[in-house]
Amino acid sequence: MNYISSDLKVVGTRPIRPDGVDKVTGRALFSADTRSAGMIWGKIKRSPHAHARIVSIDTSKAEALPGVRAVVTSADFPEISSEMAFVGEGPMNFRDLSDNIMARGKVLYEGHALAAVAANTQAIADEAIALIDVVYEVLPHVIDVDEAMKADAPVLHADMFTAGVNPKPATPSNIAKVVTFKKGDIDAGFAAAEVIFEDSYTTKPVHQAYIEPHACLATYNPDGQVTIHASSQGHFMIRAYTAKLLGIDMANIRVNPAEIGGGFGGKTLIYLEPVAVALSRKSGKPVKMQMTREDVFRASGPTSGASVTVKLGAKKDGTIVAAQQVLKFQAGAYAGSPIGPGCMCGFAMYDIENIDVLGYDVVSNRPKVAAYRAPGAPISSFAVECAVDDLARMLGMDPLALREKNAAVNGTKTHYGPTHANIGYTQVLEATRAHPHWKAPLAEGHGRGLAVGFWFNIGGESSATVHVNEDGSVVVATGSPDVGGSRASMGMMAAEVLGIDISKVRATIADTASIGYTFVTGGSRVTFATGMAVTQATEKVVEQLKARAAQTWDIPVDAVEWRDGKAYPAGTNAGAFEPLDLAAIALKQARTGGPINSEVSINAQGAGAGFGAHICDVAVDKETGKVEIIRYTAIQDVGKAIHPSYVEGQIQGGAVQGIGWALSEEYIYNDKGLMENPGFLDYRCPVASDLPMIEAVLVEVPNPRHPFGARGVGEVPIIPPMAAISNAIKGATGLRMPDLPMSPPKVRAAMDAAG
């Protein structure tokens, strides 16, 4: 059924969040809060070098230390052949993941795991780690993407021959892959252009900076059954990776999802779980492991840093006739940056006849990148949206008008293949033009910037069950970890379909043994895909409720109507019965056929793409180079906001992470390739006092493929901020800041250079 034009009573309201009390009272059980009788502690020995051959690892002294129960190295893990894994979000190779969690032969970045210890106490485990003797042959390293692409750069993988070029290269390099996307005739496009603008941009890797470090508790029983407690964006993902990396049947692994303290894409792959299981197998004890913040920075994936060029050609009237982009993405130590989506998203907001995009996936001696909100798109859009802004200046055009003139609409064929359908971009641009912020006069010295962004959003496999309890209350369970409020939205969609109050519905997350397979919480898919599964499962429950009423009244099922939480006889012909509410039917469920419940598993199709536009005002302290965000408005097509507060929170959070990316977040490496700022003191995420209120404007153009019209909302808002801010700085100072972060020293240096 489709409820888009229905009179909705629950969906679209703002009930109190179901996880609120647990979280504000500190009772929520996050990964590190789980304990088990007889539990011991696992710790990891990490590489102090950016790039080195492991000559030998001597664990004998560590093993001899009293209190040490097990020591493992890569020798304790099966060797796995190269095989692509579509388990988490973004490309990952099983062999690389195995090498990433326990180095084999070489360490490829500072912090790379190469051995692990389990001991009675954390202190003993720390001592044992220090007793492991590793002999390294330190190798030359490379950090920067442009350096890593040079012919004389140190090569990380002797078997890496650039994919996507013909013929296959004769020598290995750090370029894992080349991808291209073409539409029309780029040369003809530039030949027809009257104005051409070209510039180069760089971005730094930035971490998802979830507040909860990775942690897990794993138990390997002598009968081969494994239990894992961990937070993640997908407990089925943990199961699949752990099974593969250790050669264990999935049926023998049960993963219990803990409350998650943020993921943003960074918890769509694993680091600790197979190690903890291996240590438990060897020690016979439950093993708990947790990363420190330093471990998180040194060894878990940020998103790519990149080097990007953009070239745009336009007619004097503002029609963009040619658009070209070259993107070089750091993948970290193993192949698999988000270069694909990076190549697709930059120009997806535009209807341009001739497009040519070339992307490189490049390895270097940094931690392997992981998904981060709209992987690849923020980097690509930073470059494109700065270039479009400068093109508008060259043309003497209002930057919004230039975007309006070239905006993608339903029917626009993208350069990566699909044709846009059911998109709400026009409405987003209309809402931007109509917004008071866009029209507000600018204070002296302030600058205003605009940037837009696009993200696909995905569907995929989801499972949901709905149980009617004996008292008529309802439990909804899904396989989707709740990172952004899905318990609230799942419960609300079920309550809406049932026609009951939200207080009668509880949504939970079931473990891997208790519900059907569910893909990770990523790609902004859960409200769309899992929400669809929940809606369908609830509709099946409604059918059963109607059948039970029909049975009670002894009339045909199609003579029963379900309205406002009650069964009614459909019309006077059906008979004159008092309506039966959910509680009344539930009370008698044993006598009318047994428990009322349903399970639905789907592979949801038809996710609606998302578009956003951000307006940002800044003040620049010309003496210190410090940029202050004065006003910030984020406008986005959200399809249908199931719980508007969560949707606004997603948009505000995405904007804030983008502001950090723009102004202050970066990995700082010394000349030995070691990270100098692996903590929140010097890896600078914005703090609350750095920010104005972020105004989130919800544009609702329903996605017809979802029962309530929902689109994914969590990723779009991190795409526009960097360019919006760079464009605002240009407005305030006349200077283009093409390199992120636009930190005070850089802004001041740019100002000094300009005189």
Binding site: I124, E676, R684, V687, D690, P745
Partner: protein, 295 residues
């Protein structure tokens, strides 16, 4: 396995004895907002921690004939709530208040900030500018030490292992005196100063400076007391010419390194910028034009 003892003596003598008697590393504890963080990071493995907070005089503020005596371990939140001190030394109070967050303010102290001996410590340039004196206790009794003689390098002080600071003395102020402290950080809080600047001045009735002390933080291995900056202010009003000279003097005094928090070149320029801005606030306050907070 290593072990750690903790003691919270209630007299100076007992504390000194504990410190002197320790065989391994003994550390004095005030708020612990540096010490505990550093221990957790593995920077120190002390055998003994001597908590000073139960010693009479370590926490609290007294006024004696216009002079103020601040217990060495008095938390920032307590200092900021003291109206008299805030009126007389607004720069020092706001420098201490800049440290950390509300939670950290419940613990962080002047003694800890000074003896942690970070060149970027926020209250230290203000203490230098204020001509504060540290009352140091040890086995040989009590000695009074100008604060600028306490830090000797990053993480190092001139205190003996069995000495600690009991309290700080701030001199009584002539009329038309005030102070200010500014730091530059990339964010608005929870950051370490890229540069800090403390300035304390006394003006005559015409707004001409008659006495000044100026300091810079985070531009050298220790906080610097910069006589050249004070020399420029004394005898002058804060006009454009004086400001320009002050900026130049600050830049000349700054000897920063390039690190993850800023390049030497940038820090030097910011030292000049902050010197001008800090002086402007201190002069305004001394002439009664403004008493409000600057952050």
């Amino acid at each position: 396995m290593s072990s750690l003892s903790y003691a919270a003596p209630t007299s100076v003598d007992a504390a000194v004895k504990l410190l002197a008697g320790a065989s391994g590393l003994a550390k004095v504890l005030s708020g612990g907002t540096d010490l505990l963080v550093q221990m957790r990071a593995g920077r120190f493995k002390p055998e003994l921690i001597v908590d000073t907070k139960k010693i009479p005089g370590v926490i609290g503020i007294r006024e004696e004939n216009g002079a103020f005596i601040i217990g060495a371990g008095t938390p920032g939140a307590v200092v900021e709530a003291h109206a008299g001190l805030t009126a007389a030394w607004p720069g020092l109070v706001e420098a201490l208040d800049l440290i950390g967050s509300t939670q950290v303010q419940g613990r962080c102290s002047l003694a800890g900030n000074l003896c942690n001996a970070s060149p970027a410590a926020d209250s230290v340039p203000a203490l230098y500018a204020a001509a504060a004196v540290a009352v140091v206790v040890g086995p040989n009794g009590t000695r009074e030490v100008p604060v600028e003689q306490i830090p000797t390098g990053p993480g190092r002080t001139s205190l003996a292992r069995d000495e600690f600071i009991l309290e700080f003395k701030l001199p009584a102020r002539p009329a038309r005196s005030s102070d200010a402290y500014l730091r530059f950080i990339p964010r608005t809080e929870m950051d370490i100063a890229v540069v800090g600047c403390g300035i304390s001045v006394t003006l005559d009735a015409n707004g001409v400076c008659t006495a000044a002390r100026c300091s810079l933080g985070a531009v050298a291995p220790t906080v610097l007391l910069v006589q050249a900056m004070a020399d420029i202010l004394v005898g002058n009003k804060l006009d454009a010419d004086t400001l320009a000279k002050l900026d130049a003097a600050a830049q000349a005094a700054a000897k920063p390194i390039s690190d993850k928090r800023g390049t030497a070149e940038y820090r030097t320029k910011i030292a000049g910028v902050l010197a001008r801005r800090t002086a402007a606030i201190a002069f305004d306050r001394a002439s009664g034009k403004a008493t409000g907070k600057t952050h």
